[in-house]
Symmetry: D2
Subunit: 335 residues, 4 copies
């Protein structure tokens, strides 16, 4: 049986081997709606912390969906019930004791569950947003696509997409980040700090490593998805309110240029940029550096070897920056 709180593989992870908690599991906190109070639509150093935790502590986070629950029926148009830039509400900031600029915060995602009695997710087509439409950046004169809303029943096993199709429940965290040093970045944009990466691998069972730029790290998260395809092509996943339980740890002195991810089977570097090839370059370059610094590979050997066994996962190609993960299986890293 797998123990989601502390699965076997985790004892060999960077989190366990290098984390300040030395693999130990601490106190469980709960970040309810009440405790959160107002949500944040921008990720930066200017908001008041909602709680402080210690390395190894666990937090049960009550996330809102990206529409903050305002799209209640299929008649509720996002363009009418929401207002930019008050979109994609984030929980936090959570302060991690001892975190300083130059460290990394590790987030192990234990579980994600739908919240509410009859849990439903929301998908929609939003005018001038998405992968197959003109947008405010890829600015065209075409009429926008129709604004269509779908409410989707779901449970912890299934997402009941339509009469015809049932999809598996495969939740992940769409937006998660520590704070930049001086900037405050809207919660729709991924960047070096993490943010709206929409990377399906940021899911239960895996560990995300985020660069720390300010004291305490200031961890934000939200925007959970009951499932999502690679690329999130229409711009919207099955958005739902969740109870997401994470364990937080602190890697002192591990200075990351971009977020990194660890799963039982692979390590992944995550880049966010436009155009999409730049996101891919960032991810692959960081992975080369990681193989050199963390696993003793020669730089050119790593580069050529990834050309034979590297894996690429597309997060989103619809947000203000696009997100790509470049990964290698751990079995090729052992000496």
């Amino acid at each position: 049986m797998t123990d989601a709180t502390n699965p076997d593989w985790l004892s060999t992870s960077i989190l366990a081997l290098q984390g300040a908690a030395k693999g130990g599991v601490g106190t469980l906190h709960e970040l309810t709606e009440e405790r959160q109070g107002r949500y944040h639509y921008t990720i930066g150093p200017y908001s008041d912390p909602v709680m402080t935790v210690r390395p190894g502590d666990r937090i049960k986070v009550w996330t809102q969906d990206c529409f903050e629950g305002r799209v209640k029926t299929e008649a509720d148009k996002p363009s009418q019930v929401t207002e930019m830039p008050f979109i994609n509400p984030q929980c936090g900031p959570i302060m991690v004791e001892g975190a300083e600029k130059g460290d990394a915060i590790a987030v192990y995602i234990e579980t994600m569950e739908p919240r509410g009695e009859n849990p439903r997710g929301t998908c929609c087509m939003i005018p001038e947003f998405g992968g197959l439409t003109g947008t405010i950046y890829t600015a065209t004169l075409n009429d926008p696509l129709p604004e269509i809303v779908r409410k989707i029943d779901l449970d912890t096993e299934n997402v009941f997409w339509s009469d015809r199709v049932t999809l598996p429940y495969k939740p992940h965290i769409g937006t998660i980040a520590c704070s930049p040093e001086l900037d405050s970045i809207n919660s729709l944009t991924p960047d070096q700090h993490g943010g709206n990466m929409d990377m399906p691998d940021i899911c239960p069972g895996n560990v995300l490593y985020l660069p720390v730029k300010v004291a305490g790290g200031r961890l934000f998260l939200g925007d959970c998805h009951a499932c999502q395809g690679e690329g999130e092509v229409c711009g919207v996943a099955v958005e739902y309110p969740s109870i997401t339980t994470i364990r937080v740890d602190l890697i002192k002195g591990w200075t990351l240029p971009w977020p990194r991810l660890e799963t039982p089977d692979l390590i992944m570097s995550i880049g966010s940029a436009r155009p999409l090839e730049d996101a891919t370059r960032i991810a692959y370059r960081d992975l080369v550096y990681w193989m050199v610094d963390g696993y003793g590979f020669d730089k050119w050997d790593a580069y050529m070897m990834l050309s034979q066994c590297g894996k690429v996962k597309l997060g989103n190609f619809v947000d203000p920056k696009y997100t790509v993960g470049a990964a290698i299986e751990k079995k090729y890293l052992s000496v």
Copy 2:
């Protein structure tokens, strides 16, 4: 036991259901080096056919590696032993009886085997070519990366990358295309005709569908890889001479804007363009259209559903155009 010549699933494929051969298997041809004579470095309507086959026929193609065998040792620099644009030699053109503009040619890849007594592959870093370097397009003033050649032993199970790492033998066809109507496109560039897609899924066991633009289709192929990572980040895979056995069929009146692929488990549309987001847009749009035309989905339902379960595979992001496949599992397509 799987029969590579005609596996069970193939009887339910588009090739079998709509192909002119009605699932039948025809004559086996052999396209040896001798029969090929001169290779082609440009894919178009101006070269002389090497053979004509009928729908259902099989062809054993003796491909050259992309350096035409000129990189014999690790001391042979590609920049010295090869000369642009005489690179990436293609076998063919093979004419398919009955193929006309507006049809599709189906290529089922049966097997790929290394050629030669002590088979070895070649990988290298080529100046101003690859994903993590300035190139002739992403033109920079930086000094080029060093030119390094690796010769790699391999057999039908393993690619012996280094003392430290052995990779699995997972061959695929790097370059394969029918001819454009008027243009002749160098064998390094993928486009609507197919070409240098470097898509790992164009491998034994799968079926590729290519648009026909001229009578006979004029099928070219070459550039086989013993294995390749997603993105082919350094620009070069484990390049090797192969014996690649394909079965060719003809789908009359199936007019494809871009290549499409079918595997036992999924269908994939393949786009090639720059920037990389455009390749992704092309692939996903074509997949939406395919779901509508081929499987009866409503257009907006397909678009939103792919946002939940679409898969993306990166071919290359190093060639003159980048290649992306967008796919959906067949289990979601059944009525």
Copy 3:
């Protein structure tokens, strides 16, 4: 004789015709180094205003160069004497009385003069920054270009580039913006708010219109250039400390999606995005809308006509977002 404070053409400008000051010229303020105190490296709503002015008021702004004066000799490497993200210091924020979300602030640039006794500018090549090098986004494994610093004598007529070449003094403001609503954006990045556009036309004699998102507008500016080529190809202009005199006005209810510019001869929309074609699309689309809303053109007539007489100016293609202006001569706008 031209009166820089109030040239003839200005009476026909949008600033004069629609500004709250009705073309009137108000009080002259001075924003010295002393009054400014600390500079800002991020443009947002979280900093303390340095002054409040009324529509029509003039302000003499003592700007710092983008290195805050730390590159004093050609031996001072920017990578050693500056520290990210404390780069490109901005003066302000200046509050404009009456400005509210949905308005536009007009900035007429009267004059720009070098500051200091023996005025010199600074140009340099910064590792992993610039148009013809790998960068942190266009991430490559090539060695960086050399870090070279040039100190350049200049006066109000000439920039003494080298023994061989003297360039004309053609100053402009590299970075200027009102605050976003919730975000705070580093001063290196241009976006909808304006920011580091590096557009040579934001120069003495012209009027820039900026969207207002928060009460008072919160105007920031800095990063003045004694001259700059289109694209700012090496990433750095002739950076210098200036005394820049502007007149500020307020257009109530003119809601701009992106910055706009007016000169004696043309109107220009300014977009900032990646890839560069998206910046161009943004600029041209906004110009079409401006021709429709402001000058009574039919949308398709405007679109096709710009295909015959539109002008494009490249600001920078080196910053985190690239900047493009699309313009049309005023002579084609009259009825």
Copy 4:
């Protein structure tokens, strides 16, 4: 008075100083519709030459408009009266005596005149083509823009755009190229060979230099525009049939990676690629190299100096590849 055949400045041009004709003017040829016979829609080495000329010779070319005259009235929809890929007909190929791979062919454009009794140009909006619309590459699901045709009266001074607007007649050659070595490239695509650059500076009075890849060079041209804005934003200029008179010369041993241009006042390198920043990088890098090789500048001095005085001209950002010219004024090149 200016002599279009041989203006004063031309004696100091690269054409005159390094051309095989040593500034001499040779025979005048005429390439009429009759002599041309069939037009070409692809630029390559596989078509039959229409004439051979000597360096210094002049040619009066009767070009067709890009629709080959099929759009006769505003009721003729291009999508109905034309058929891909038979679009943008090219005159040629013209062979230049003595031209070999590694040389450059110089084309001085003397004059361009409208052809026909009541000369009219054609502009239109073509579905899924243009800068502000989804296209086959920037693939969207939006409905296409309306297909609108405009027929425009013009003479050698004016283009009578509308009741409201008259534009100046400023003709240029949209498509001009020598042949690639092995490929044949459709006449809609610009690339290293030249092609559909849509650069307004390829106009009467200027000299274009094109790389030679095959014996004789094989010069093609067509697609003349009575005027065109920068970027050609709707995808179509004022397309018209012309009589274009050029003088052709041959620079032996001048091996160009991309086309270059010379005017009385500046030199320009021309790059074509996607995304648009890559076209800009190509153009600027080639200009740096040109300043080094042709004018004795230090590489880093040239790079930093262009950051202060470089000029950028956008050709098209609507074709399969985008075109950018990077230029410097000649006055900064003298020693």
